[in-house]
Point group: C2
Chain length 466, copies 2
């Protein structure tokens, strides 16, 4: 039986027992009911307890964590999504600060590597667009060194141990910071960073090994890495949708769809006894109404939705005060409209989710985060452009939507909204943890591609099938 | 601190300590160095040990099983492939015997449902083609009720609990049994079974729910389910390759590639000190040389490979005696040739693997089982048709292949051959367990497709991208 106890543990047990004997100060061989007997009983007890536990684990009836860390379980009411073990092992490149946190405070001349202790908060009121900050939260989730909840990812410092590689370049912040539009001369700084990153990666043994296929690169702004995006197309890109890219660039099978980081405050004390009746507005929208591409639907919707007492459709731009007003509006509305904007998705959808306002999505080409785990139809309504622009149709559908069904959706929203929150320190099953799980789901496909590419003699026979 | 110890455990500890005190027979409050102190020390010790263990588990540095059950780990030298938890929950349809085991012994009129206890062995010398029996082993793996090793799959009897659904129709055996070729009149029985199965499935709530997307159907013979295969195309099909099917039917992203079930005996006592020197034949092939499609390469190879002393290329058909001869031939050869046959893959590759004979694969369109986990280039050589048919080239390459490299490949073969074995009772990481893991890897894609299809307003916007 001794052989199943690891030696270090055995030594420790003996050590503790020895110390206790020593303090005792006299021989312990006095009688058969001596203190030594208790020492033996203690060891036996430890053995029995460990045996019971290890057996229970081995036959799968006991998950130790659920005994010792009951708070690690999902909150009541939220069914746990499929937890997966073991965690993803990720190596993070050690990029110079100018590629990431250096952009958060450009006046600082600090050149020391950022650590868990010196990780800067996301600057408030800085004009930096929080909705594109997924890259910042992903980097933070790897940098964080505290203990706590078991998450989907662990950082490994030895690249040989890694399942995947994270490239901590703030590509969205670089676009948003260096030049305020596509033609601003300062945008050359963004371009230089992209060139610099490529040079850096192309010298890495691990990038070269599989052409970057097992590398994860956040690119949530539609213009992120716009000069050289095609060069990173083999990697797992973290994007918000695919609306702007051609078919050969980015796709659902290899890339990961992230939520925008919500900008309104989360409705954490949403405990009204009758949320349906207390939310007096039927349908709410505040935002820009003149948008490119499919966003043209917004002007049309403005016309279609005019003249209804219970519909709030307001043209507005994002400022501190307006965000506050949007938050209040969403919290007092049953349904929140999410029309396509410049791209199929926008931050507004996730603002609605954390406000527990049932999203009404009018965006034919939208892709949704974590959709292999989350069924959005359980808490959202979808209308095609055609349906939404049919006079009276959508409002009519919403007005006659059954109260019980709406309350059920609202309950679902309260359950799933935690998957759309970004935290530092990171939390189990928050948005970033969910993103790492998405990466994990992509890895079998990555490994298959890597192995096949190493041995295929006719690389494209597949595409040439009849 | 007490709060993190589960109450049942606390009671047990107190109980044991109480019992010990009782046996002691006298008061334990005699001195400060009394037995009671040892009892307390014992409890403290248990606490400390449990805390250390639970903390180690929580931060992911310790896997308890590896300490207490070292034998559950992979055999020495075989790096464990990525184990995944929790196991896949599979519901198996309760099909009448004529769809599966009824075909194994057609004289039997037994109509009782087959159970773990009555599971029939695969009939030896019956003329039933063992290489197409993946369907039989998959069914057995779900039916098996004994305990034992933790596997990738558990059978659930409540379909509401299932991640996936298994359809235990022996589609390959049905083709092989009912009529011996495509035009035999008896093939109508096969057709009737296919029609019957479809009728059965179409009445199932769980089939209808997602159009069969989360259903797993073995179809390893290229002619399995040949009359109605397109009707089951949404499901996860278990196939051996995609050579015969058009592009719209079956593909790597949704289907699972299975190995053929090997027919030669596994080389379990392959312990020769110098396998390289003791295997005197350089390259070995026995089999049919006239085959359809790309199999035409076999006749050409016969010409190219004639006249080499160290190459054995023999025309032969599969009979008991010939299989024995093939087995001996493979075990005494360094390399075993796997040319394309009627289809890109064949049983021969897996016979070579379990004979630890380094496969030489000449089949441009072959797809390989478990290739997201197994890198075949570590123990196989690949030649294109063009390379293989260049006079002298292949034999030259094999002759000058370094001994150390060959021995390393042979060692790899010994490690991975267990993934190509079919067992009843099933074993951890045997071929069927690996197949269930493949199914698990497909599930995120299945769920994504299910959720998207429920809410997409323009189902094919994706394909219509620029």
């Amino acid at each position: 039986m001794v052989s199943i106890i690891p030696p270090w543990l055995l030594n420790k047990i003996n050590g503790i027992v020895r110390t206790a004997k020593h303090r005792d100060g006299h021989s312990s061989i006095s009688t058969t009911r001596s203190p030594r007997m208790y020492g033996k009983a203690a060891i036996a007890l430890v053995f029995v307890v460990l045996l019971v536990i290890s057996y229970s684990i081995s036959i799968g009836t006991v998950d130790l964590r659920s005994y010792f860390f009951p708070l690690l379980q999902s909150p009541a009411g939220a069914p746990p999504l499929c937890a997966t073990n073991p965690p993803l092992r990720v190596y993070m490149y050690d990029l110079p600060r100018r590629f990431n946190v250096g952009m958060l405070d450009r006046r600082s001349s600090d050149q020391t590597p950022v650590t868990s202790r010196t990780w800067p908060p996301w600057p408030k009121n800085s004009g930096l667009k929080r909705q594109h900050s997924v890259e910042y939260w992903m980097m933070g989730s790897l940098l964080y060194e505290g203990g706590g909840e078991e998450r989907e990812v662990v950082r490994v410092l030895d690249p040989e141990m890694a399942d995947a590689f994270f490239v901590p370049f703030f590509s969205s912040l670089s676009f948003n910071t260096h030049g305020h539009n596509m033609t601003d001369p300062k945008t050359r700084i963004d371009r230089q960073l992209q060139i610099g990153l490529l040079e850096y990666l192309r010298e890495s043994k691990y990038w070269k090994r599989h052409g970057g296929r097992d590398h994860v690169i956040p690119m949530t702004h539609p213009n992120a890495f716009r000069f050289l995006r095609a060069e990173l197309n083999a990697s797992i890109q973290v994007v918000v949708d695919f609306g702007r890219y051609p078919r050969i660039m980015s796709n659902l099978s290899k890339d990961v769809v992230a939520p925008y980081v919500h900008v309104v405050d989360s409705f954490t004390d949403d405990y009204l006894s009758d949320p349906f009746e207390s939310r007096t507005t039927l349908l709410f929208f505040r935002g820009r109404t003149f948008r490119k591409d499919e966003g043209i639907v917004r002007v049309k919707l403005a016309k279609i939705l005019a003249g209804y007492d219970d519909v709030h459709y307001e043209r507005s731009i994002a400022t501190g005060g307006n965000i506050k007003a949007s938050s209040l509006g969403m919290r007092s509305s049953k349904f929140c409209l999410h029309p396509a904007g410049d791209t199929p998705s926008s931050c507004r959808l996730f603002d609605a989710i954390v406000s527990h306002c049932v999203p009404v999505i009018v965006s034919d080409q939208i892709e949704l985060p974590f959709e292999d785990e989350i069924d959005y139809s359980q808490f959202s309504l979808f209308f095609s452009f055609k349906e939404a622009l049919e006079p009276g149709f959508m409002v009519d559908q919403l007005r006659k939507f059954p109260k019980e069904k709406w309350v059920e959706m609202w309950r679902q929203l309260k359950n799933i909204s935690r998957h759309f929150e970004f935290h530092y320190p990171p939390k189990k099953e928050d948005a970033v943890d969910m993103l790492w799980r998405q990466v994990k789901h992509k890895l079998p496909g990555v490994k298959l591609a890597v192995h096949r590419s190493q041995r295929l003699k006719v690389p494209d026979w597949w595409r040439r099938r009849r």
